[in-house]
Subunit: 366 residues, 4 copies
């Protein structure tokens, strides 16, 4: 079967392995007329690029993007946009010795079960480098949403046991610490926690939160194509994500109707608004005009240099210490991946929402 | 846009509103040769039928299913299976007075934003009765999975603050209490909690857990069609679900690599197995041969008779006390909905996994 | 696999067999706000209903449609529209004797190859009654297109060797003869030809032509989703269709560039128009503002009472004379099926065309 | 909307414009374990490469393919295969003067209607160079089909008024004449006809025929996903195709049931076979074990240097003589495009057919 194409009207197709020639994405369904150049995309790729701080792998990956098609005279033409990032600084030899070993927490065993063999170099297709294509496409989706007045804020909400404090919350600090946390005190504590993990050849999990502002109140479909369902799929398709919440999420399960229901009232201009936002901006699968709020749980980086028990393809038991250059925590570099997948999903569903009313369709074609 | 069709190879299309003529589903892609009759499906529908205990709405809905197509001489023919449940005992008049009012926690406002008007009777398409089609299709998916040796266990894991105790866990008790909890002590406590809620005209949230056993180790696709991503979408598309976890879920975000990685070893017959199962049976988006474990968070029933502030279509502020017959908690009746959506997704992706290897395809056509 | 769902944004799912309980369709993605009642749909079904003339089967099929969901107070709500036609006047006994025989020109052998067995009564799912769902959905698509100013004309263009004469062409005569021909002289000749066929226990093929007027000039997509490609799939998915043409079709293959190219000029109001229309209203897969013109070739009715050689499931050779009540030609009743499939495709792609330009999307959401 | 992705299980996504950086395709869903290198693909690309004879454009396009992902140690891994062909020898200046002119028979006007502007260089995305991606993917699909014992023969069946004579038919001559005709006498006559066309600054249409042998008898789905419907869409999505036939095609419309029905009998080994093949190997949308036979009608090359009337973007009338280097007939280079699209469709639907029977699915997973 397939699995590398995502979206219905705004459709992306990614390709590439960690140690192959490159990584890329084709974006099909981008409307004509968007101003777009490599810089727009590179800004996003730089947010996931390694080597930015001591809490990311020291691998040097320039990850420079090139636009191969779909623009003309600086604007999108409506035809597919092909983007490529060539792989550099690959040390494939590092992986020879794990070629036949099943690394705990990795997809080695399940890939072998599925395909009979695998490109073991750097995890092949299951590498986090696969997200380069998502982020490149996400840069375009975010730019499109911005044209429509929608904005997205994404940040690290927790690392291991260290969570941000909503009272300390400050969007402006996000880019002022290497962990992309909107709370400078929590960021400091998280850095200390990570130092400990690294000293113990261990790694940490964490959570990412994403807030979307100013989305119109009609995006999403009843039944299976609910906005929250598609956001959930989008985020859960990112490697290492183990949980997803919208609005109050799992807290809502401990709550009561009186607490959890969002009552309606008016804003200063007399528009109908929800007075609270436990729903996270979605009711019945359709955006309700409030902020969309979602959260993703990332497991700890599976590549650790502490000793682990495992087996090889031949079924022999052995111990493994994973060498190479790995992130002690996935979350900071994953922030932009979450933002990208959310934006791709939102823009796709926003396009889909244009067809819900006959009167608006008639007006469109007048 | 659309939203009532789900699945790629095993595809279901649901239709129907709470107070329309009926509710139904068309299942397309069911393989030929499965023995199937109305009883197979009715058993599942009876698990979500109201009026079974004092913790569900006293509405009497017989919800009797009829097979309209797709079987011949007691077996599926490979062509679409159409199932219908006629609506009965509708008290549409109950809803006249809320026709123009936006009920907190419901989809009234977002539906009006999207479609310009709505069928307000019983929530129309956004009613939980929409899940009848899912459960009817789910009965077939579960039966198909059973033929392949796969089994599914689904139950209530918590109601409000009351969670099951893994030490008290007993599958056999699930059907022995009205809340479908596999822990009779927790069930008793939850019943007491619900009595309190009802006394206060309030409602409760809760969680559902689902365990899938004996799934082969190659189901799911890399990148966007990961098994966990599709399970997540399936579950999050159920009304009132606000969170989804696979394996350790949000706990993994607080964990470390040493704790969270599942080491490999052997079972008694010498087969390769994971020695723990923090991953919940999926690595790299592909099943790894362990139990699949997933969890869904349900918000409290939004229909409560306590007084709430809201507005109407005309934008006038007012108070509302929702009348009618409502469940104090959604979870017990949702257990079979979660099981159904999981089964539909698993069988669909299991079919898709048949094409991953050329050698197996060649053998199939020999 | 599946095969009973069609369309991307305006999506239809059909179900039902010739001698099952009924035939139906679910339309998902119909915009909210269209006035719709059973009469709108019945008018279309009556055009394919048998027993209207001596050139159609004398079977009495009332084929009365019922709307089960998707409308409220006489208008579509944006949620799935479920339509059902109960089967009546089934003489299943007629088919017992052919249960194990492979009728020439029918799908008996290929269905057995695919599914291992089949519902042999009246052809089961491969019966022409399957088109009832298409026509019911087509009635809605045509009504939607009409709201946008688009109109569709469909008629019989030839029966066996008798073709309409473009000089005699008169739209008004289409409903004045039982063969739906827009040329009363050709209609008379075709009737005589059919009398001969019937006398010889034989049947005839024929062609249907469809003209769509006033479609805006931007419907269809480059590459694989060309308007002509999707119209072709739509028409070729009708049982018994063996050929499809757009514009000059196969004649274009014998033509030259000078003859075939449509030069541009102006209409009386100064708008750019094509001066001829060899292209059939589509260039590069996108509508060009001229009339869309398409043609379908139908094979002769395979059910004939003349003696034919064949084999049965056991592989034994034998002769067969097909009894029962069959149309001597498929074409007149297929006219409305062609119109329906064209309309469904056009409306679906028209919705899709709304997303091609960023400036128009921005304006839509203002 | 989108339009550059094709297929369900074997899915291709093409990108690129005539004068952009390159042309490419991503193949998603190719099973693991196929031996594949650049030479396999280059052989196919060379069949559509220009400059091979005086009947194709003298443009020099090396069209060298590079595999960017999806193979490891010479075999496909099951993950997406990305292929690229860089554009060379582009004379974009040739097109400056037609930048604002609507060329008759081209997509200039419809692209402007849809997107508001266009990449006018060499036709941009509407160029025949778009088929490079299809042919590269087709090479893989043909190789996969060959592994399953299926073979495909494709050739020119007519050019202008010159058709091949079935009595002179000889597969072996296909590659012995520059027009890929399986009849050397017809080839000679067609060459003379083309000389005339070229002398008159004119161009010619023609037809391509494709025969698929040894396809199993269960490929294709009832209703909308009939094998013929998908083959039709595949072929009609090739630029310049105006008609499609399966089996007897439009001749069947002039035929009778007695002539057109294929009676059943036995081959020498006692297997059930059709004694004739008017159906073209498909009944009820499902392959019947006979040869699949299809035909495509191509319009004449629209780029001709004869004088034509047209208008420009500003709506001014003018005359145009198209310069540049153009094929006098599209057909010979299109032969391999037809073969590719047929193969992609067949392999995709062959994969889909694996799920039709429960007993075979159970056996697969044993």
């Amino acid at each position: 079967m397939y699995g590398s194409t995502y979206g219905t009207l705004f459709k992306i197709t990614t390709w590439g392995e960690s140690h192959g020639k490159g990584i890329g994405v084709v974006i099909d369904g981008c409307p004509a007329g968007l101003e777009l150049n490599e810089t727009d995309i590179q800004k996003f790729l730089d947010r996931r690029k390694p080597g930015q701080s001591k809490y990311t792998t020291p691998r040097k990956e320039a990850d420079t993007v090139e636009i191969l098609s779909g623009t003309f005279e600086g604007k999108t033409t409506g035809t597919p946009i092909s983007l490529i990032v060539y792989n550099k600084d690959q040390r494939s030899k590092d992986y020879k010795e794990i070629a036949s070993i099943y690394r705990p927490g990795h997809a080695d065993f399940s890939y072998d079960s599925k395909y009979g063999f695998r490109d073991y170099r750097g995890g092949g297709r299951s590498s986090a480098r696969e997200t380069i294509g998502r982020v490149a496409a996400g840069a375009i989706a975010v730019k499109l949403l911005n044209q429509l007045g929608v904005s997205i804020y994404t940040y690290t909400a927790s690392i291991g046991p260290v969570s941000i404090d909503k009272n300390q919350f400050d969007f402006n600090t996000i880019f002022q610490n290497p962990l992309y946390m909107p709370d400078s005190i929590a960021a400091k504590n998280a850095e200390e926690y990570l130092e400990d993990c690294m000293a113990q050849k261990n790694s940490s999990g964490g959570t990412v939160e994403c807030v979307i502002k100013n989305l119109p109140a009609n995006i999403g479909e009843p039944a299976f194509e609910k906005l929250n369902a598609n956001l959930g799929k989008a985020i859960l398709s990112i490697g290492a994500v183990k949980g997803f919440e919208i609005g109050d999420g799992f807290s809502a399960a401990k709550s009561t109707g009186i607490e959890n229901n969002d009552c309606y009232g008016h804003d200063e201009e007399g528009n109908i608004i929800k007075l609270t936002n436990h729903s996270g901006g979605i009711l019945g699968g359709i955006s309700d005009g409030s902020d969309i709020i979602l959260r993703a749980a990332f497991k700890p980086t599976p590549s650790i240099s502490a000793t682990q028990r495992t087996v090889n393809r031949q079924g022999e038991a052995l111990n493994i210490n994973i060498k190479g250059r790995h992130d002690p925590v996935i979350v900071p570099r994953a922030v932009v991946v979450v933002e990208s997948m959310a934006a791709i999903t939102l823009f796709d569903m926003l396009l889909g929402s244009m067809t819900s009313r006959l009167d608006k369709i008639i007006k469109f074609f007048e």
